[in-house]
Assembly symmetry: C3
């Protein structure tokens, strides 16, 4: 049997918000170590992974590793029924055909129980090699969210240009050009630059990734010209990562 | 002549909000006792009634009983022009062809006057017998609102199962099942149960009735398996009741 | 070269909000005195003008008068990227083909720079004679906004009836009539009436003009039966005026 208890259900709401526009049906991989996910978007351009660590749950029990096939849109409907302060229990028998979610209200006069049918999904796990990136920057997640949303007004491609002093996010559209520059003047923005780097990405995907900005206050971007961009969000019970290949035909070059 | 003065116009806004998606043209019945209404929805499945008692108005004067035929959508447009703190005067001559609404601002430098043409509507008053219900429960109106809205995500039919310890609201949809249980652990939820009861209802109507949850903090549900469900909202100047027949083909049985 | 520095960028956001639904492409006229605009709406029914005075900018420099042709919708997209507290610098070379906007964040770790292509627009400046109006009234801009929005529910034409004691805004629609009366009981409403006046106007345009109510707390209406209505909004760095011809076939007469 698998049973996990989350003291603050709100975190699960935010995780699902950060997934629901990117992926549809996914396998949750349950092991003694925790709950993990690896899923590509429908167009096989972006990859999202997370690991929720067993030790950060109020309670976590897993007899036998298993993959739980979930419809994210169904799970999103159910999770809306949890109040932010609810404690959430997730439960599945071994070889389960359904997953049970229990929402326990704080005042204990309210308990909600939902059962979702599990899906049988083909799994194709990719090995993701650990690679050295030319630059890593840590900035407020709300700032990246805002920059991408705003520059989307002018173009669908964003250029990220990093050197030791500053990172410049820029677009070049029909109506005009725009560039937003962040420097390392204070602790808010941290730049770790091995080599200067300049790469372009589809804003459409970055805007989807930015849904995770509700999970935590800062985001780490790993950027190299020939590697997938990584956006990493670390939060109370684990970590979420998004991968996106650079645009080859760089409009800015 | 009929003239009534409401010190807090906001209550009238909320009453109209609680009607406007359910009924279109209605007769307001004016008597010395107050203003009452009985109206069925267009599909003749649900019934709404209210009684606003003369003694709870700042001023109430009615020479002669009469029925004022009103378009709720027109009245809703007009009532939007009242500010929440406005005092509202409603006036109609005997055998009136129009109804006058006057909104008096607090600072007295602003007076709005609206005249709506009255409609001539056929009236078919139903006698509603007082009947004994198997169970009556009082719960926060916002809680019922939330439960119905959320369970609507999974199905269009809700089952209400009441015994002396708790009430369970549940749905059974294609993507999964859900159940929300409220127990009488504190004063918030009051259960008066003569007999256990289990009945199903169309969520569509309950969601319309729940617009009245802005009127007051709690709602009383009267439930029997062979009687219409009643939702009763008591507020400062009167009471509003919604009636809905149970679904015969209970999906849950 | 032209360069102007606005300490509070928010004012520019509000000015563009007050224009963007009324006009599309406009010439900004740059002189030593400041930035001015005169533009008609597409249907040539309404006229909007503003003057932003050089002396109210943190910095203002203009070598040579020039007209900068701007797409308001493009400018609106760019200006969304400014935060409310940002300082905004506007810059253009002489005979410029593009305009540069720079948004400087308060904490100085964030600078955004946008370049918009300029348009070549035909200019047709109208002389607007200073004329004597029968009545001028000053009322809260939010009040006029609310009155027009609300009365729009009932009709698309508003009648303004002013005498020394009060101004009545009224409509006469199919579902009913409405009238909102403001009197000069306190400092909020100031009536300066040479002659009583009664004129009608298209609410559609007044609702567009009312977007300027975010710029300042009060608005001055100049009303005569045979002259364009003027709505004047005075704010920190200048003044914005809207002109609208009265409706000839007065529905209220």
């Amino acid at each position: 049997m698998f049973e996990a208890r989350l003291a603050q259900g709100m975190i699960l709401k935010k995780i699902i918000d950060a997934l629901r526009e990117l992926v549809t049906d996914v396998n949750l991989d349950i092991t003694k170590e925790g709950i993990s996910l690896q899923a590509m978007d429908a167009s096989h351009v972006a990859l999202v992974t997370f690991m929720l660590r067993a030790e950060f749950f109020a309670d976590f029990h897993c007899d036998k590793p298993q993959a739980l096939g979930i419809s994210i849109s169904s799970l999103a409907k159910v999770i809306k029924c949890a109040e932010n302060e609810d404690c959430i229990v997730i439960r599945a028998e071994d070889n389960a055909s359904l997953i049970t979610l229990i929402f326990e209200g704080k005042s204990e006069d309210r308990i909600s129980e939902f059962n979702l049918n599990l899906l049988s999904l083909e799994t194709e796990h990719m090995g993701i090699p650990d690679q050295e990136y030319a630059a890593m920057i840590q900035i407020p997640s709300s700032e990246l969210n805002r920059i991408c949303r705003e520059l989307s007004q002018l173009s669908d491609t964003i250029n990220i240009d990093i050197n030791k002093e500053r990172v410049i996010f820029s677009v070049n559209g029909d109506t005009g050009r725009g560039a937003i520059s962040l420097s390392q003047k204070n602790d808010k923005n941290i730049l770790q630059v091995v080599n200067n780097v300049n790469a372009s990405f589809a804003l459409r995907y970055l805007n989807l990734f930015n849904k995770a900005s509700n999970l935590t206050t800062s985001v780490i971007l790993s950027v190299s010209e020939d590697l997938p961009l990584i956006l990493q969000y670390d939060f109370e019970i684990g970590s979420m990562k998004y991968y996106l290949a650079p645009k080859i035909n760089d409009e800015f070059s």
